[in-house]
């Protein structure tokens, strides 16, 4: 476990892609920013020439699998993967075994994160007991626990009961919480295997229609506005959803939304291989949806990028498509994919990337000390990224336990060189500390 101490002088980094400066980290904080800073005695100097400095990334949607599926990932292995991806805080989803629906489970996950020490692990609490969608879990107890839970989600399952969703939205207002909805109308998606459209029809795989996502988002936006609460929409995947969220924001609904890196770049025709590494929920959609998601992220309709990092053991994917598990890992590739899809295309500046991958997710999750400006006095949660070091994604070389990355073999334009958590490197020279 890295110690929360040490002095580091970062030479020649480009904050948010701007002109190079030096940054000094002492006692967990940024204590000086400027050209040619003198190195204090005992300071470790990091040559960051050409590297972009961003605030440490914050993931609002991570599956760490512990407790219950430690064969796929643990809090420790998942937080190492997070650090390798430039993250200093992640939100651990509630669909563990047992489900994170009590103060005991969320405190366990929170404590495991503290012990691992690679990033701050913020547990997400389940909205309903056992994710069963029948009655509210002890949301208040989780909020008051040592884990200070603020994000609640039945992710993997939709809170489809409109009345229960209304109650959940209202209840979390008491402590400024947010309901993160996995928008999936259950009856329209029974047995669904992939996006419903030309490809599913040709492949004979039961379809997951866009309307099943869009109908729930529309309903929830109206509900959130009616009760004056905060709604967060998980992993938006369709053009129609972007349109609905844009409309809801225009009429004053307090809704935020996320998109995953994979939905920004991959399309449903990859299912033609029947390789379940491309099976995910919500499913990969069409090129038209990908374009709309990029535009939505660029214009702020979609607030953040969240990974939906979903590790699975080999046997869960080396099977027929219809029996394979849904989900793909994404922590270690997220920034590279955003660089390719949003920065290289001119849709986002690095400052906007910092907003969408650090500041905004920290705000939505009410995470203190993360997503802050790169300024003197702020916590030294920082990632150094080399934008000119193309890397071929190697599934076998992942820091997490599972290798189910859909980007294997793909070239991404840059790589994480260093990640600092409160001034202490969790990653240095591209390697986990």
């Amino acid at each position: 476990m890295p110690e929360n101490q040490g002095t580091h002088l970062i030479r020649g980094a480009r904050p948010l892609g701007d002109d190079p400066v030096d940054l000094l980290f002492e006692n967990g904080r940024i204590t000086a920013i400027g050209p040619d800073l003198p190195a204090p005695d005992g300071a470790e100097v990091v040559d960051a020439t050409g590297l972009i400095a961003l605030p440490g990334l914050v993931d609002l949607h991570t599956h760490l699998r512990e407790p219950g599926r430690e064969d796929a990932e643990t809090v420790a292995s998942g937080s190492r993967a997070a650090a390798m991806g430039g993250y200093t805080a992640v939100h651990a989803m509630a669909n563990t075994d047992p489900v994170a629906d009590t103060a005991g489970v969320v405190e366990q996950v929170w404590r495991l994160g503290q012990e691992a020490g690679y990033c701050d692990v913020r547990p997400v609490g389940a909205v309903t007991v056992g994710l069963a969608g029948e009655r509210l879990s002890e949301i208040g107890a989780m909020a008051d626990s040592a884990a200070r839970v603020r994000v609640f989600s039945d992710d993997g399952v939709c809170v489809s009961d409109a009345l229960l969703m209304r109650r959940a939205l209202e209840y979390v207002k008491a402590f400024d919480g947010v309901i993160a909805q996995h928008a999936q109308e259950p009856r329209l998606t029974e047995g669904a295997q992939m996006n419903e459209g030309r490809v599913s029809d040709r492949l004979g795989l039961p379809g997951w229609p866009a309307v099943a996502e869009e109908a729930i988002i529309a309903r929830d936006c109206l509900l959130a506005q009616h009760v004056g609460s905060r709604l967060h929409v998980c992993h938006v995947s369709t053009k129609g959803s972007v349109d609905i969220i844009r409309w809801a924001k225009e009429r004053g609904c307090d809704v935020t939304a996320e998109v995953t890196p994979h939905h920004l770049i991959l399309t449903d025709d990859l299912a033609e291989s029947y390789d379940p590494v491309y099976k995910v929920n919500p499913p990969l959609r069409t090129a038209e949806d990908v374009q709309a998601l990029r535009e939505g992220l660029a214009d702020g309709t979609i607030d953040i990028v969240a990974t939906d990092h979903a590790p699975h053991p080999v046997e869960a994917k080396e099977t027929e498509w219809s029996t394979a598990a849904m989900g793909m890992i994404g922590l270690e590739t997220a920034l590279g994919v955003v660089h390719r899809t949003m920065v290289e295309t001119g849709l986002l500046t690095w400052a906007q990337v910092a907003e969408r991958m650090s500041a905004a997710p920290a705000r939505i999750g009410r995470v203190g000390g993360h997503g802050r400006e790169l300024a003197v006095g702020e916590p030294a949660n920082i990632v150094l990224y080399d934008p000119a070091a193309p890397v071929e994604v190697d599934a076998a070389a992942m820091a997490g336990k599972s290798g189910n990355t859909p980007f294997r073999g793909m070239s991404l334009p840059g790589r994480i060189i260093a990640t600092f958590l409160r001034g202490v490197p969790t990653v240095l020279e591209g390697k986990i500390k």
Binding site: G197, Y274, E320, W321
Partner: protein, 302 residues
């Protein structure tokens, strides 16, 4: 051609070669000794995860007529039912030296997955709601035998298109071979993107029949009714079933096909099923010759 996974993998020349080869091999079935030495010493595994006596027997007979060693590996009573994965089963078959694996599986795409894990040829004998390429080939063979051509032939495929692997393979193959396909079904039993398929679509069987040289009736499982695909078996049968009255409105030479098993009284009346214009038993007989041709072309070379 290493595998036969989809009817769409065949170009016109390859498909025609299979049909022509089947025509030659059909003569073997007429001899007193119905056997050729072509695949002697080669091993064909029938890997059937779904019960299908008809298709499995057809493949078994085809392989045996070509003198191949045939192993039937059914999901029941094998390690498959103990939870062995498709991959481990594939590696087992690989270790046993299977030259060809004929697979029937309830999951769409299972043959594609299998082809990644074995060196031998994989033949798709029906996968989920995806494809059934040898059925489409034997259907085309039967049409060509009965009507003398495929080019320009007007074929209506009627029934549960949405869940039909037979329909998918037939649309692909018949289009490749120059026939014109019209799919006929209630809108609930058609895929949402069917308008992008290389065929016509109609909701009205009576309108299509007089313009069809072939009508292919597909089985509709009664349980679809419980999912509200249509209101009742009676209403389905009234609108989309083929009875003698409807048959009489087809051109005189037109034939009635069915991949079996038929549900008499649902999609086809007993009168039509038993009429000489119905080719169901010919399709079964042709299935053996056609599967011989496919096995021969996939496994016979070098």
């Amino acid at each position: 051609m290493r595998h036969l996974l989809s009817a769409g993998d065949l170009d016109r020349d390859e498909a025609t070669l299979i049909l022509d080869t089947a025509g030659e091999l059909a003569q073997v079935g007429d001899r007193s000794v119905k056997k050729l030495p072509t695949l002697r010493g080669r091993t064909v595994v029938n890997l059937f995860y779904e019960d299908s006596t008809r298709t499995r027997t057809s493949f078994e007979l085809a392989a045996k007529r070509l003198s191949a060693d045939v192993i039937n590996f059914s999901a029941k009573g094998s390690s498959v039912s103990k939870g062995e994965s498709l991959k481990d089963t594939a590696l087992t078959l690989q270790a046993m030296g299977a030259d060809g694996v004929v697979i029937r599986h309830g999951a769409s795409g299972a043959p594609h997955r299998l082809a990644n894990w074995v060196d031998g040829s994989v033949l798709n004998a029906g996968d989920g709601t995806h494809e059934h390429p040898t059925q489409a080939l034997l259907d085309a063979f039967t049409m060509r035998e009965r009507l003398g051509r495929l080019e320009g032939l007007r074929v209506a495929v009627v029934g549960d298109i949405l869940h039909s692997r037979v329909a998918r393979s037939n649309v692909l193959l018949l289009t490749t071979l120059g026939a014109h396909v019209t799919l006929v079904a209630p809108p609930t039993l058609l895929p949402v993107s069917v308008h992008t398929w290389p065929c016509e679509v109609s909701y009205d069987l009576d309108e299509v029949l007089p313009e069809s040289d072939v009508v292919m009736m597909l089985r509709v499982q009664a349980e679809r009714m419980h999912d509200s695909f249509f209101p009742s078996v009676r209403e389905y049968s009234r609108n989309y079933g083929l009875d003698g009255e409807r048959l009489s409105r087809m051109p005189e030479e037109a034939i009635v096909m069915h991949p079996g098993p038929m549900v008499r009284g649902m999609e086809i009346s007993a009168e039509v099923a038993d009429s000489p214009r119905c080719t169901v038993t010919e399709q079964v007989a042709n299935g053996v010759s056609l599967r011989m041709a496919v096995l021969y072309l996939l496994l016979g070379g070098s």
